[in-house]
Amino acid sequence: MLRNVDLWTRDGFFSTPDGSSIYFWGLASREDGKAQLPGPLIVVQQGDTVRINLTNTLPEATSLLFPGQEGVTVDDGTGPRPVQPRFGPGGVLTSFTDYADYPDNPMANPTRVTYAFTPENPGTYLYWSGTNVHRQVLMGLHGCLIVRPADYDESVPARRTAYGEGTGTEFDREYVLVLAEVDPELNYNVEHGFPYRVRDYKPRYWTMNGRCAVDTMLPSGVGYLPTQPYGSMITAEPGEKVLFRYAGGGIENHPLHPHGNHTRIVGLDGRLLRNGATDLSYKRFTVLVGPGQTYDQIFIWTGLGFDPVTHPIPTVLPQLQNLAVGHAGNTLWSGSAYLGLKGDLPVGVADLNDMGEYYFMLHSHEEVQITNWGKYPGGLMTMVAVFPSGRLGERHGRIPYTESVPV
């Protein structure tokens, strides 16, 4: 099937919970749309013909790389040809791949190019700029690409998988977490055309799907984060299989873990961890998310001694303060040890718990990465919320079937 994805590079501003508004370069999925951080989530299927139409409006040339895809072609209006790195005077690299030029270039090269490829392997991939990578990727030109397996069928549990039927990658819900860092100094200097030194790079913000905690826990598409459409709150019911797709969009390592739980890593860089009949998947508590790499994992919450009939409760009682977010005085804790029940909270504590669901943190254990410019809480932190069975609904954690996801 032919999948056309239209992307426009654009500049814009994104917000942080401590009140900063930071200039960035991102991708929009409509000509009149806003740049977004990270770029639009692209969902296609194994075997599709994927065409990415990139139009550049930035003040310098730009491009996109599709790591993990083979045989990528580019068409700048003269017909498709294999992508190639571009070299300037003296044979020195100017771009890691064919690019869309900037609009005011007197050389008048095309500002729109079409990349095309046929994904041969299902899984989670990143895409990122291949031009002035030391600046453009850090400025926000990166995003996530999901390739559904050829036999994917959302309505058939055995075929609602990351890597195909029989690969042990069935899921009930799925979540993408694209991680990156922001040094506002770099963004400020690019905004104003000032020089900056790469070696001075010092991130002050860390983003999960383009947002810093506590905004990570807000729903997708909230109106006051117009350039950061993707939330990171993870919701599930007991016993469900939840697919986590971690993707390192930035240039740092990020050690992520869900407190008190583990995941099973089933795929890396969009390749199933299996050789013939040998299952190479493995369990981890902390997954070190490296730059440019992806980690597909299956997570199942059952709770300590959980049994839906005889023992329908988690037996872990959190300390109230562990579930406080924002300023002290708000809590996600239900006030009860029983899943699905709410109990009394101390006077003056604001209740953020909906129906007795159970929350625990998923975050980077490199604690500087859970601050916003030095202040906790912030950065790479979100919550996993376990809802009572049958209460969460079908649409949570279901990324639309096969299309690029509009803002």
Binding site: G90, L93, V198, R199, Y201, L268, N275, P291, G292
Partner: protein, 311 residues
């Protein structure tokens, strides 16, 4: 049978793009030759006994350690009981000898074991490649990284040693001073920064190129080892490789635990062997996905970038 390897530790100078020659300390393979970065690459056979003699022409003591090769180090303490060297030292003007067995195949770092935080940064590192039994350099049908059954047969092999250079450290240490905060501005493959990485091998103090050439369908074994102090992440554009060994332990033995990656992170001292089939004709960029390492003193492009040319 014992193979003698003679190494000299010397000072010299290296060229990094866009700046004046920089003092460094490196190994050379003969009394008359200059120091080089990285040190001379040695090819030895699995099981071979090596008698390594290190002659020290540096102003201070130095020594040799090998990472991943079993040997019994002889740590050295100073008069106040402070630990100063991982292994027997060679005094300035003197020498020291080390006997090791190249017990298993793979790619191994040799480096200074004395004040390594400064001496390794100054350039005292190199690589020994240990060939599996049955390997015959004249017979391509015997070429593999780890021998029969390991799935590491190759047609083209490339060793890439990752490093960093802090030019202020080099000047301070060469001048007898104490270095300040480590803040490298240059990032190297085989001792060179892009665009010099793609130049061919030569007789300079940075003799090893990192460019690669292959024909479509050829099996390429990329052997990456990190001699730097930072993590580095190599990304192969347009190629997904199979990770066939980590730290020179083959991943296919009685079971096949090899796996595929297009981007891989190496911590200090770590190595990976990546095997892939040369794709269609064209140029393929291999670069450090830690994107502040693709510059020379803040200028893009530079640092850890090289190119595979398939023709």
């Amino acid at each position: 049978m014992v193979t003698n390897i003679d190494l000299w530790a010397k000072s010299g100078s290296i060229i990094l793009p866009g700046r004046d020659p920089l003092p460094f300390w490196g190994f050379s393979g003969s009394a008359g030759a200059g120091a080089q970065l990285p040190g001379p690459r040695y090819d030895v056979m699995e099981g071979e006994s090596l008698h390594i003699t290190l002659s020290n022409q540096l102003p201070g003591t130095t020594s040799l350690v090998l990472s991943g090769v079993e040997f019994t180090p002889q740590p050295v303490k100073d008069g106040q009981g402070r630990f100063v060297s991982y292994n027997t030292e060679a005094a300035p003007g003197g020498s020291a000898a080390y006997d090791i067995v190249a017990a298993r195949p793979g790619v191994f770092l040799y480096q200074s074991g004395t004040a390594p935080e400064t001496q390794v940064q100054m350039g005292l590192y190199g690589v020994i490649v240990v060939r599996p039994l049955g390997y015959d350099p004249g017979n391509p049908s015997t070429w593999s990284g780890y021998g029969p059954g390991t799935g590491t047969e190759f047609d083209v092999e490339k060793v890439l040693v990752i490093g960093e250079v802090d030019t202020a450290w080099h000047e301070e240490i060469a001048g007898g001073g104490t270095p300040s905060d480590y803040d490298p501005g240059y990032f190297t493959l085989n001792g060179r920064s892009y665009p010099a990485t793609v130049d061919p091998d030569d007789a300079s103090s940075q003799p090893y190129g990192s460019g690669m050439a292959a024909a479509p369908g050829q099996r390429i074994l990329l052997r990456i080892i990190n001699a730097g102090f930072l993590n580095h992440t190599l990304s192969l554009d347009g190629v997904t490789a199979r990770v066939v060994a980590g730290d020179s332990w083959p991943l296919k033995t009685s079971i096949d635990t090899t796996y595929r990656k297009n981007t891989i992170t190496l911590g200090s001292g770590q190595s990976y062997d990546l095997l892939f089939t040369a794709p269609a004709t064209g140029k393929y960029v291999i670069y450090d996905r830690d994107l502040n390492h693709v510059v020379n003193a803040n200028q893009f492009p530079g640092g850890i970038i090289t190119i595979l040319e398939v023709t």
